[in-house]
Amino acid sequence: MIFAVVTFPGSNCDRDCHDALERILGYRVRPVFHKENNLGLCDAVVIPGGFSYGDYLRAGAIAKLSPIMTDIRKFAEAGKPVIGICNGFQILCEAGLLPGALIRNHTLKFISRTVELRIENNHTAFSSEYESGQIIQLPIAHGEGCYIADNSTIDLLEVQKRVVFRYVGPVRFDAPNGNPNGSRNSIAGIINENGNVLGMMPHPERACDPLIGSTDGADVFRSIIFSLLHSGVKRPADIRV
C-alpha cells in the first residue's frame, strides 16, 4: 500500500505523516511536492497539516490552486481515498472537495491540546476499525478550526451520517459541550457524499506512536487500508512489479 503525502510550502506535518505511516504502521509512502503535476503510483492521498502559504488570505486558499491539486481532484473523483488533516481539511474545503468552510476559532486563540472525539459513523473508509460511539483522544493544533456551513448543508451532513468525528470533551469554561473551537454541531471531521474524501481538524498521525502518549489515531489509517483491501479496485501498488 502506498500513501502519497503532499507537501506544500508551509506544510509541517508531512514528516509526521510520513513517519507514522512508514515507521510505525509499515506502509509505503510517496512524498509528493505541490509543484508536481501527478501523484504517481499511490493508493491513497494524505494532505497533511501545517500553514500552506503562511495561511495568507485564508487557510488553504492559495494551496487549492497548486499544480498537484488538479490530479488530487481527479484522484478523488475516481473514488479513491483522500484524507485532509488540519490544514489539509481547510484545503479540501477551499477546493470544493468538501462542503463548508473553516474559520477562526470562536475564542480567537490558537488551540493546541488533546481533545476527546466520538466516532459518529464507523461505516466509512476512514473509521471502520473503530467502534461506533467509541471515544478517542487526538491532539488538535489550529487557529482556524471552526467548521461552518449553511443550515441545509449541516442538516444534509447529519442526515447522511457524514459527520465522522465529533468533539465531546473535555468540557472546559471555553469549550462547553467539549467543543473547543465553536464548530457547528461540534463537527471535527466529515466525509464527502461518495465517502472517499475525509477532512478532519484533529491529528491522527500525531497519535500513532505509543512513545508519544496515544495510538488512537492509527485506526484512521488502518481503516483506509481495510477499505482498499475490500474495495475490489485494482491497486496500482499491485499492478507494479
Binding site: A61, G100, A101, I103, N105, I148, G182
Partner: protein, 79 residues
C-alpha cells in the same frame, strides 16, 4: 490604474474579531455602536485598461482566489 476589492463575511457568518472589537467599544462606553464586522481591503495596481475590463478581471480573481463564496462576498471598485 488603481483598483480595490473589499472582501467581507456574509451576513450571519460568525465574526469573532468583529464581536471582540464591538464588545470592547461598548465596554469603553461607545453606546452608539451596534455591531462591528471586520473584512479585508485588497489594493491593486493594474496596467491601464478599460474600466469594464478591469472589473471583469478583478471579478475573476476574486471568484477564484480572494473570496470564498461559502462564507464571503466581495465588491470591486475601479478608481
Amino acid at each position: 490604474m488603481k483598483a480595490r476589492v473589499f472582501v467581507t463575511y456574509k451576513p450571519g457568518v460568525l465574526d469573532p474579531q468583529g464581536q471582540t472589537v464591538c464588545q470592547f467599544l461598548k465596554n469603553q462606553g461607545q453606546s452608539k455602536v451596534r455591531d462591528v464586522r471586520i473584512g479585508k481591503l485588497i489594493e491593486f495596481d493594474l496596467e491601464e485598461m478599460p474600466h469594464s475590463d478591469a472589473e471583469s478581471l478583478l471579478k475573476q480573481i476574486s471568484d477564484s482566489l480572494l473570496a470564498n463564496p461559502v462564507i464571503e462576498t466581495y465588491r470591486v471598485e475601479v478608481v
